[in-house]
């Protein structure tokens, strides 16, 4: 489990650095431009991914809780 945690942490750090690199010098962030391009479909993607992330986090928490219960028994 600890190994997975480390891998996830590493991946998360890498992802955040991608966001930081996306800032260009023109004053407006490229991230904001992306979100406004293509009929703003990226906003929908972001919303759906947020919901998915919330549901998955809930599943992971349930999984952990049940594992704990199993160990208590």
């Amino acid at each position: 489990m600890q190994k997975f945690k480390n891998v996830f942490f590493l991946l998360a750090c890498m992802l955040f650095s991608v966001l930081l690199l996306a800032q260009n010098g023109s004053g407006k962030s490229a991230f904001g431009n992306t979100m406004r391009s293509n009929g703003r479909i990226y906003v929908v993607v972001a919303v759906m991914l947020t919901i998915l992330a919330g549901l998955i986090l809930y599943m992971v928490r349930l999984d952990r809780k049940i594992t704990k219960l199993e160990k208590e028994n």
Binding site: Y42, V44, M48, L49, M59, D63, I66, E70, N73
Partner: protein, 238 residues
């Protein structure tokens, strides 16, 4: 209790499920889809609505396999597995119905067009077939949970599960494909899995989406199974 070899306690397939779903949500919304009459961008629902039905079928298949295993071994563990996979399968089926009713309102059953009357939609063989299949599985839950004797319950519900699964064949795989229908897919073959029906650019997302959604269903089912196992164990120790 914690059997380390059991797939339920492995995390690689749960991570795979999450990754495939993230891919489905991003690729499914952003990647190019063929331009189709009447459907336009709504064809992207293939990655969501159709996947619900595929997951339901796969979960029911897993359930019937466990029912047969129960009848062969009489191990109550398989009875619990079988029941929980049915419940999650039903949830996916209901989601398939709900998403389908939204999708059809804006494509083949547009209520603003007079030719799509309610009676035309109510006579849809695909909708009726799916409703029959789901109702048979509702009856499975009622039958199962109304029997208090544990062995009898397990045996009767396992046998009923096999019958219910057998009814899936005519009600969703055979009859709807023989009758004329407004609902697209399945004319002279298997919808979605047919290489002529689904463009290559969509299959790239569609197949991973099926796997991702199904693994999510299996994940939910295994959580429920583990919870029931804990409960049963507590009852036995009391």
């Amino acid at each position: 209790m914690t059997n380390e070899k059991n797939y339920m306690y492995k995390s690689w397939w749960k991570i795979l499920s999450v990754l495939l779903l993230v891919y489905t949500f991003t690729g499914g919304l952003l990647m190019k889809v063929p331009e189709l009459p009447a459907l336009d961008e709504t064809i992207r629902n293939l990655y969501f609505h159709v996947c619900m039905w595929f997951s339901m079928m796969i979960l029911f298949t897993i359930s019937v396999v466990h029912a047969v295993r129960y009848l062969r071994t009489l191990d109550p563990k398989y009875d619990i597995y079988s029941r929980q996979f049915v419940v999650v399968g039903i949830v996916f089926g209901i989601l398939g119905y709900a998403t389908g009713s939204i999708w059809m309102s804006y494509t083949w059953a547009d209520p603003n067009k007079p030719e799509y009357s309610f009676s035309a939609i109510a006579r849809e063989p695909k909708l009726i077939g799916a409703a029959i299949a789901l109702l048979i599985y509702f009856a499975y839950l009622i039958l199962r949970d109304s029997i208090t004797d544990m062995d009898k319950r397990a045996r009767i519900s396992a046998v009923y599960n096999i019958f219910a699964y057998a009814m899936l064949f005519p009600s969703i795989w055979i009859v709807p494909r023989l009758l004329p229908s407004l609902h697209p897919g399945g004319e002279g073959g298997n919808p979605a899995m047919n290489f002529k029906d689904v463009a290559g650019s969509m299959r790239v997302v569609f197949y991973p989406a099926i796997i991702g959604w199904t693994l999510l269903g299996v994940w939910i089912a295994t959580l429920k199974i583990r919870l029931v196992m804990i409960k049963e164990k507590r009852l036995m120790h009391r």
